[in-house]
């Protein structure tokens, strides 16, 4: 089942043009298969990953005030969070092409990803505003490139590219819990391979 899912997804990706406009939210529907679906199907022996309750438990808290825990954070996280909030202070039209500044939704999702990256001590190369309205967390190692784009709309896309073939693009359904962890793990494997 998992191999079927990957095959179909790859087929869908192969009919897409190879330019980076694929990161636009309006193109995301072309990708009929999400990373979560594919990875969950690839891990049938770990039923806990497939239980919705377990995913929800990750986010539960009776508290209203949200902070990012630094208890087990990597040394680079604080500087990166400051960079994220510098990006957040940009005005609309920061690129003079009409881009909207990152909003609270994009920031919160980006912050969740940075926290997960920190837990793995996987430092991103850059944090930038996205011309598509949001925040882009990118990674580069040699000719390997990956990014996570957190859009103001709440959509999150991940991209991996080795500079030769078609970039792999997928939507991350939830910027928390297992979806987030699996996306980060997949990107780390790609960048470090």
């Amino acid at each position: 089942m998992s191999s079927v899912a990957f095959t179909l997804r790859d087929t869908v990706l192969q009919v897409l043009p190879s330019d980076m406009s694929l990161t636009r939210p309006q193109n995301r529907l072309r990708n009929a298969f999400t990373q979560r679906d594919a990875v969950l199907e690839d891990l049938p022996d770990d039923p806990s990953l497939a239980r919705p309750q377990n995913r929800l438990r990750n986010a539960e808290s009776p508290l209203w005030t949200k902070t990012v825990s630094l208890a087990n954070a990597s040394g680079w996280l604080v500087g990166t969070l400051h960079r994220l909030h510098d990006v957040a202070r940009l005005p609309d039209n920061w690129n003079s092409y009409g881009a909207v500044a990152p909003n609270a939704t994009a920031l919160a999702n980006a912050q969740n990803f940075l926290h997960e990256l920190s837990e793995l001590d996987f430092e991103p190369s850059r944090i930038d505003p996205s011309a598509e309205n949001g925040v882009c967390i990118s990674f580069r190692a040699g000719n390997r490139y990956a990014d996570i784009e957190c859009f103001n709309s709440g959509d999150v896309l991940a991209v991996t590219s080795d500079g030769s073939g078609q970039p792999q693009i997928w939507e991350i359904i939830a910027a928390s819990g297992d979806d987030l962890r699996m996306a980060v793990a997949q990107i780390r494997t790609f960048v470090r391979s």
Binding site: P52, Q53, L56, R57, A59, E60, S61, P62, L63, W64, T65, K66, T67, V68, S69, L70, A71, A73, G75, L77, V78, L81, H82, H85, L107, A108, Q111
Partner: protein, 274 residues
């Protein structure tokens, strides 16, 4: 070493940024998704917007031999459950409702809003909200509310630069953390976080204290977050017994806070008056 004869601690500038008073009860058999909206209709004048959140799982404290017993099945997370937030007009007060949980949170938010004090504001707001909820349950004939536990949480933020600069200063803030080693090998810790649990006498509950470094998004500052949560079972499900337990829990939280933090912080940063 309880000493309840000491005056109740008071501070001019306490570091509390959020409080939560709550009740956990046996899920009501007739509760359904439409009841969230029906309940909101009755409080919408004060709580004008809502959010849907993942449900909270049961957090019933157990003691002694109780720990060996399996969790009571009626507190298990139901797949159809949801938790609704109802947020006040001024964005300072939050009512959280799920079938089995009821909480009222106050938060400081951005700006210099002073802590409105337990007796004058937080407790009366909880009472009003709880009475709205129990009246609603009664009017809708949803059954009797069987309270299993009450809880009180205070979240405190200690910003960097106000009494501490790095992990080597933690013992100056929290005497409970001595920060000493034999000095033979380890450098200063990069970061420190700790937790401690304290039993209330007569198994009336437990106080849980956690301290961790954190990043506060609202002003992009590093903080130490000290969270104190007291939970325990009230004598009965009556409002009077619920409030009696919340008063006890709040006393343990506040006295516990004063006991676990240093005199230097009390005097120089939070301006203790009593």
């Amino acid at each position: 070493m309880q000493d309840n004869r000491r005056p109740f601690p008071e501070f001019d500038a306490p570091p509390v940024v959020e409080t939560a008073l709550g009740v956990e009860f046996a899920p009501l058999g007739s509760w359904g998704v439409p009841h969230f909206g029906l309940f909101w209709h009755g409080i919408q004048g004060e709580y004008d917007h809502f959010e849907v959140q993942p449900p909270l799982s049961s957090q019933i404290e157990q003691f002694g031999e109780e720990r060996a017993q399996p969790e009571q099945p009626f507190f298990d997370l139901l797949p159809t459950q949801a938790r609704c937030w109802f947020i006040s007009l001024d964005d300072r007060t939050l009512i959280q409702v799920q079938n089995g949980r009821f909480l009222l949170n106050w938060r400081k938010g951005e700006g210099q809003t002073p802590y409105p004090r337990y007796e004058q504001t937080v407790r009366p707001r909880f009472v009003a909200a709880w009475q709205s909820f129990t009246r609603f349950v009664e009017d809708q004939k949803l059954g009797e509310i069987a309270v299993a536990q009450c809880e009180v949480t205070y979240v405190n933020h200690l910003p960097i630069g106000a009494g501490w600069k790095d992990a080597s200063d933690i013992s100056e803030v929290f005497p409970v953390w001595a920060g000493r080693t034999l000095g033979e090998f380890l450098p200063q810790p990069e970061r420190v976080h700790f937790g401690a649990n304290y039993l209330l006498p007569g198994r009336r509950g437990r106080l849980r204290v956690t301290m961790q470094p954190a990043f506060r998004s609202s002003d992009h500052s590093e903080i130490l977050q000290l969270t104190l949560t007291a939970r325990g079972r009230p004598q009965s499900s009556s409002e009077a017994d619920i409030l009696a337990w919340l008063d006890l829990g709040r006393e343990w939280v506040v006295r516990g806070f004063a006991d676990i933090t240093s005199t230097k912080m009390h005097e120089e940063i939070w301006r203790r008056t009593r």
